[in-house]
């Protein structure tokens, strides 16, 4: 932030901060700016995450500057705005993840697989908006009327992904021996195996557990 806001170019995953300083240097007419996110368009969502991260980094930096003006030491100022700082980092990481997931889609050639992964990426991005509506509203990326659309769009994606959900977990290709889970067995024969598993419990080694003779029987005889 410090470098980018001073007009120096930063590279790597933080390069979006360059745009922040460009926006500041080249003011646009408010009517010309359409920052509201298109919830049905994944690339628009990626852009929204980028702007959210940029805004929260800026907010944290300003919060730090304000604290510093209150004559605190640098360290105290840092502590007094650490909630904002963690929030900025969180938004940065979230943007990186959404961005990388979407970039991966470009490498997928098979149309059917691409479509399944696209829905997942869309769900991931949209669910993050749903969980962090405050951030997106604060950044002016989302309007209050759009909040209903977020939920509506989420529901549509859930219905869309539901038929593929087993295939999508099968694709992870975990052998039963690796999962070691009766509930998650590939063949789905859960209940027979759960009963068999329970019978192996060491408490079942004898029909009557020793504790009965040691404690319960003497108790019963005394009362």
């Amino acid at each position: 932030y410090t470098q980018a806001s001073a007009g120096q170019k930063v590279s790597g995953m933080v390069s979006y901060l360059n745009e922040m300083s460009q926006q500041r240097l080249q003011p646009q007419q408010v009517s010309a700016r359409s920052t509201s996110v298109n919830l049905k368009d994944l690339s628009s969502l990626v852009e929204a995450y980028k702007i959210r991260a940029s805004k929260l980094v800026e907010l944290a930096a300003k919060s730090l500057q304000t604290e510093l003006q209150l004559m605190k030491t640098k360290e105290d100022a840092w502590n007094h705005c650490s909630i904002d700082l963690v929030r900025a980092s969180d938004a940065h990481c979230h943007f990186v993840i959404v961005k990388l997931f979407c970039s991966k889609l470009a490498e997928v050639e098979d149309t059917a697989v691409h479509s399944a992964l696209y829905s997942l990426a869309h769900l991931y991005a949209l669910h993050g908006v749903y969980q962090n509506t405050g951030d997106f509203l604060q950044a002016g990326l989302l309007t209050v009327p759009q909040l209903t659309q977020v939920t509506q769009q989420l529901k549509e994606l859930l219905s869309q992904i539901r038929p593929n959900s087993v295939a999508l977990v099968d694709a992870f290709d975990y052998r039963d021996e690796m999962l070691n889970s009766v509930l998650g067995r590939y063949d789905g024969n859960v209940y027979d195996n759960m009963f068999e598993w329970a019978r192996k419990s060491p408490l079942n080694q004898t029909e009557v557990h020793n504790s009965f003779y040691k404690y319960l029987k003497p108790l019963q005889s005394k009362l």
Partner: protein
């Protein structure tokens, strides 16, 4: 095959196998992974009692036995590629940690990244032949992520050409590093270096803690297990107290920072290099987050198609619980998260390898970004995955609480990632520091 699961698979709109290839990074890698997995699955030596029914001591012993077996078998099969070793271990260990895991994931990488060529010649053959079984002792009872506050000291004595290591306070006793209590005979100890009366900060030293051969603790070394934990029953997390333990000058890892025989200190090009192993682990943890959440999702989603419960419409048969919108809302975003983390894990791994390659060539320019990104993504993904596994467990109703679901085991063995190799909030603040500097 359960008829509901069969129907689900038949109705899928894409070829699962093609997606598996994408996740593995190519069809050839899928083929090889399966080939390696079959070696373990078909091996009677790996058929053992369900660990859920064993005591902690029995679980530790079984894990040590398994580790020894794995090493022998991999040598026998000639498996030496790091990815292939990973495949082999994943299937052999399941969701349980490996008893001598730190030897592989921290001890050996630290040797490789911080040893001089001469040190490498000495220590690597010993470590690779398991004459030396090592761990990485950084955390202290009273000090965790803020490593500059670590209290263990290593004072150079030019008269004997030795470092004298001490745990000067109770809070400085090394605490938690895996395999330290009973398994390892050497530890890479992170200690404050003193020479010519000055402290030069944290540096890494190879410290013998048990005699090679008898495995008895060495004089001045107080070492043992720290007791049961939330999970990690296979690992002997340990304590280590050093009382005037003398080690030769050559036992300081001197690829970057050095202490000359006369006691002169030579600074490293970056003080972050000492913590390179932590950056390595943080980078790899991102992929592990994907693994943990994808396992939990696999279990919860398969079970949610098998389990039928209640009524959607009066009088009709019980529906699959995955047909309830609330169940979809719990599980499908987590499924999407598992995929997102998988691809981010691949990216983080490639980025780590690329930047460390540059570092080895003397280019440190991207080290700060690697630090910041690995710290932030480690924190972000482990927080989300830990919470997500718990959601998966609860979405399986009462059966998710049973160890037979494997979900409690996945949770307790994964959730320490939120605190180890850097507590998550501190990691986020490190990322923030970079963001503000950038």
């Amino acid at each position: 095959m359960n008829p509901d699961l069969r129907k689900e698979r038949e109705a899928a709109t894409f070829n699962t196998e093609l997606l598996t290839h994408i996740l593995d990074g190519g069809s050839e890698r899928t083929r090889r992974r399966r080939e390696i997995e079959s070696l373990v699955i078909g091996d009677p030596d790996f058929c053992h009692e369900d660990a859920n029914f064993l005591s902690r001591s029995e679980r530790y012993e079984a894990a040590v036995k398994k580790s020894a077996l794995m090493i022998m078998k991999m040598r026998e099969y000639g498996i030496s590629d790091p990815d292939e070793i990973y495949y082999y271990k994943c299937i052999a260990n399941g969701s349980h940690p490996e008893a001598i895991g730190l030897h592989f994931v921290m001890f050996l990488p630290t040797l490789k990244s911080l040893c001089t060529p001469a040190q490498m010649d000495k220590w690597l053959p010993l470590a690779l032949s398991f004459q030396v079984i090592g761990t990485y002792a950084q955390t202290e009872m009273g000090h965790g992520t803020h490593i500059r506050a670590l209290e263990t000291t290593a004072t150079f004595d030019p008269a004997t050409q030795e470092f004298v290591l001490n745990s000067p306070t109770v809070s400085s006793i090394k605490w938690w590093p895996g395999g330290l209590g009973k398994t390892s005979n050497h530890a890479i100890v992170l200690a404050q270096l003193y020479t010519q009366g000055q402290c030069h900060g944290l540096h890494a030293f190879i410290v013998p803690i048990r005699a090679m051969g008898t495995h008895e603790p060495l004089p001045g070394v107080v070492v043992g297990d720290i007791g049961p934990k939330f999970g990690f029953d296979e690992i002997d997390n340990g304590f280590l107290k050093l009382e005037n333990v003398r080690i030769p000058r050559e036992n300081m890892l001197m690829k970057y920072a050095k202490v000359e025989p006369d006691g002169r200190y030579i600074k490293p090009p970056s003080d972050k290099l000492t913590y390179g192993t932590m950056v390595f682990i943080r980078s790899m943890v991102v992929g592990e987050s994907a693994k943990a959440i994808s396992k939990a999702c696999t279990i919860a989603i398969r079970y949610s198609t098998v389990r039928r419960q209640s009524e959607l419409r009066p009088g009709e048969p019980e529906p699959q619980i995955l047909d309830y919108q609330t169940q979809q809302f719990k599980l499908l975003p987590l499924l999407a998260t598992a995929y997102a983390f998988h691809f981010v894990g691949q990216y983080m791994r490639q980025t780590y390898l690329r930047i460390t390659g540059d570092i080895n060539l003397g280019d440190f320019s991207e080290l700060p970004e690697l630090h910041a990104l690995s710290a932030g993504l480690k924190a972000f993904t482990t927080w989300v995955a830990s919470a997500g596994i718990e959601v998966c467990r609860m979405s399986c109703g009462g059966h998710g609480y049973s160890h037979c679901s494997s979900l409690p085991g996945i949770y307790v063995n994964f959730t320490p990632t939120c605190t180890y190799e850097g507590e998550n909030t501190v990691m986020m603040l490190q990322t923030a520091r970079y963001l503000l500097k950038s």
